[in-house]
Subunit: 147 residues, 2 copies
Amino acid sequence: MASDTVRDRILAAGQRITPQRDLVAGVLEQAGRPLSAAELYEAVGRSGRGVGRATVFRTLQSLEDAGIVQHVVLPGNQAAYLLCQVAGHHHHLVCRQCGAADDLAEDEVAPFLAALEGGHRFQVDHANFAVYGTCARCTGDRASTTS
Amino acid sequence: MASDTVRDRILAAGQRITPQRDLVAGVLEQAGRPLSAAELYEAVGRSGRGVGRATVFRTLQSLEDAGIVQHVVLPGNQAAYLLCQVAGHHHHLVCRQCGAADDLAEDEVAPFLAALEGGHRFQVDHANFAVYGTCARCTGDRASTTS
DNA sequence: GCCCGTAGTGATACTTAGTATCACTTAAGG
DNA sequence: CCTTAAGTGATACTAAGTATCACTACGGGC
C-alpha cells in the first residue's frame, strides 16, 4: 500500500483515495524504480485484488496530474512510470543497471536552459530531460562510456 | 527528392539509394520541421508514387541508424521525425509555434552533463533532451512562460 | 551493359500502449 | 446514513510500430 504521505498528496490534489490508487502507488513505491504500464498492471494483479487495465492507465494519469508520478521514456522508447518525491515538473537521472531514478532539482537545470536561451535566441518554454547512466551504487561493477 | 548531400550520407552509411528513401528524406527536407510518421506517410503518398507504410517506418529507422534522421517526442507524447544537419547523437530546440527544430551541439550539453555527474555521483551514459519553446523568428508574436 | 546476390519493398497480419464508452460502484461531505 | 459526483471495470477501439514473406531492384563485379 502507499505510504501516508502519498495519500496526503493525493488528497491535496483534490482526488479521492481509492484502493486502486493506493495499490498502484504502493507498487510504485515499493519498486523504487520506473515501471512500465504493463509491469505495473501485472504487479498490481499479483499483489492484492487486482485493478482493471483501463484503471491502471487512468490512475497513472491522475497521479501524474497530481504531481505524484512522472513518466520517463527509457532508451528503446519504452515509457515507464515513476513515483516522485519532488512535486512539480522536474527531471531524472535513470540508472541503467539498477533502474533507480534520482530526482533532478529544477535549479540544477535552470542555468543550463538560460545558457541555451542566450546562445540560440530561443525562449525556452518546457523541457524534458532523460539522462541515463550508472548510479554511484552500481559504479564499480561495470564501467560504460557513450555520448 | 532529397538533396545530393543526403544521398551521400545514405551511401556513406553503407545503405542503398532507393526511390523510397529518396522520397522520405526529400519530404522531411522540404518540411524543415519534425513530422509524425503518419504525416510523413501521407505526404509521401501525395508527392510521387507513394511508399508502403511498413517501408516508411523501416526507412525512418535506417535513416536514423545512419544519423540522418532523429526522432523527438513532442509534448503530448507524439513522436516526430526530423532531418538533421549534424550527424551523430545530439539534441534539439523545438519551436512550438512554427515547429522548426534547431540542432544543439554536443559541446553545449557536455558541460551541463559533467556538472550533473559531479553533483550526483552518477556516470552519465546517454541523454535525451527535448527542449520546447519559441524560436527567434516567432518571438514577438506571442510570449509564453512555463517551467 | 548485364548478371547476380543481397538489401530493400509492399501487403498484410500482428502486437502493444493507450483511449473511449457506459453501466455500475463507492468515497466522502453533509 | 444518504446523496452525488468521482471513480471503476469490461470491452471495444485506435494509433504507432513490428514481423513475416514472397517479390523487386540497387549496384558491385565482370
